[in-house]
């Protein structure tokens, strides 16, 4: 048995105005992977290839040890997939959908489904057409969560939800992880959600993977250094620093491969390090996307 829930290798897919280029990443069992990137970066296309809904031009995809799309029928018993364009029947009730899914999937947990129904503030007798956007999203998530699948694949599960609803979803996702045999992949451009609950982060922009690694190690590599630059001192270009902004005697350097020696190096060249700051994933996100686009254009 493999310890990987998801393995994508060299996946490419060309469209007229967009291309996924050599996408590769892995998700270990027992972990949450957050897939982040700007709008149009390729998150949904990546997820659709993963689910066997789109056939890539080249590359290999394995989900729970099964090749996709060839073995997608077998794989899908163990995968819970939710995306924005998931259709529920407008004229039928939340309860009807629950019974329907329960009749198909043997792992359906009716007690957990009832707990989720209450927690999400949904009513079984209510028809889908009367639900708000947020309630629909929660209904779809209830239907996949109560199946207790080994792998949850969620395309933008928190987009468009109010803060209370978002926290309910994050709470359910982290609760899933008490079982180390289960895994989650979710996409988002809400960096706060990804920073909070992901074990691993995959960054995608313009169809390319910028980074894919352990969240703690990733956050640890990035720092902002606030520097005082005395007159006559020229700041050197140091390895691991992706950008420096200077105005008068003050400068801010952004490092994406920070080591404590970096501060010593600046000091030895005559600058004074006032502060070394951690960066939020949101700040890293923006710096990373801007930096990688500059590199491509250069």
């Amino acid at each position: 048995m493999t310890d990987l829930a998801i393995e994508m290798t060299g996946v490419s897919k060309r469209y007229r105005y967009f291309a996924l280029d050599n996408v590769h990443f892995r998700v270990q069992k027992g972990q949450i992977m957050g897939l982040i990137g700007p709008n149009g970066a390729g998150k949904s296309t990546t997820i659709r290839i993963l689910m066997g809904l789109i056939r890539p031009d080249s590359g290999e995809v394995r989900v729970l040890g099964r090749r996709m799309p060839a073995e997608q029928v077998a794989a899908k018993w163990d995968i819970g997939f939710a995306s924005d364009d998931m259709r529920l029947y407008d004229q039928l009730t939340v309860g009807w959908h629950m019974n329907f899914i329960a009749s198909i999937y043997p792992n359906w947990d009716p007690a957990y489904a009832d707990v989720l129904l209450k927690r999400f503030g949904l009513v079984a007798e209510q028809k889908i057409k009367g639900l708000s956007h947020g309630q629909r999203v929660k209904a779809v998530l209830l239907l996949v969560l109560a199946r207790k699948p080994k792998l949850l694949v969620l395309d933008e599960p928190t987009t468009g939800l109010d803060p209370v609803a978002r926290h309910e979803i994050l709470r359910e996702l982290t609760a899933v992880m008490t079982d180390e045999g289960r895994s989650v992949l979710f996409s988002s451009h809400n960096t706060q959600d990804v920073e909070q609950i992901s074990d691993q982060i995959t960054f995608i922009d313009r169809g390319r993977i910028l980074d894919s690694m352990d969240k703690e190690a990733y956050l640890d590599r990035w720092r902002r250094l606030r520097l005082e630059v005395p007159a006559g001192v020229e700041l050197p270009a140091l390895p691991g620093v992706i950008g420096v902004r200077q105005e008068g005697r003050l400068a801010v350097a952004t490092a994406n491969a920070f080591v404590p020696d970096l501060a010593n190096e600046y000091e030895s060249r005559g600058a004074r390090v006032q502060r070394i700051e951690n960066m939020t994933l949101e700040e890293i996100f923006v710096a990373n996307v801007e930096h990688s686009r500059e590199e491509v254009e250069a």
């Binding site: 949450i32 994050l170 982290t174 609950i197 074990d199 352990d214 951690n278």
Partner: protein, 131 residues
């Protein structure tokens, strides 16, 4: 349940440091006694609604500092060191004092003047407490 843990997004420090600090506080005030079993990594992650890897990092660092011990298959417990809570409080004071020294050095304040300032600060605190 670990309801009193609170991870703050307004706090600039990384989440793993906030978790470490809150565990130390529990030990310092005596809620978590030396030798007592503490939640598993996955349980605390679910309770705090943060990633497993973040809690794992906190536990690893606390283990390195000798504050908790983790045994394979048995989970983690507070280190069975008598007086651990008092030691943690002492450590906190040391850290604050070092921070004071750093700022004083930056501002060019001499040690003698600093001692005087400390006495004054003590007087102010005493005054507030008698009111």
């Amino acid at each position: 349940m670990n309801g009193a843990f609170a991870i703050s997004q307004a706090d600039k420090r990384p989440m793993y440091l906030q978790i470490m600090e809150q565990i130390k506080e529990r030990i310092a005030v005596g809620d978590w006694a030396p030798g007592q079993a503490i939640p598993s990594i996955r349980q605390l992650a679910a309770d705090l609604q943060v990633s497993v890897i973040t809690v794992k990092r906190s536990y690893l660092e606390l283990e390195r500092e000798g504050i908790i011990v983790t045994q394979q298959g048995k989970g983690s417990q507070v280190a069975p060191t008598p007086g651990l809570g008092a030691r943690l409080r002492e450590q906190e004071l040391t850290q604050h004092l070092e921070q004071v020294m750093r700022i004083a050095t930056q501002l060019g304040i001499r040690q003698k003047d600093l001692e005087e300032r400390l006495r004054e600060a003590g007087d102010r605190v005493a005054e507030k407490e008698t009111i």
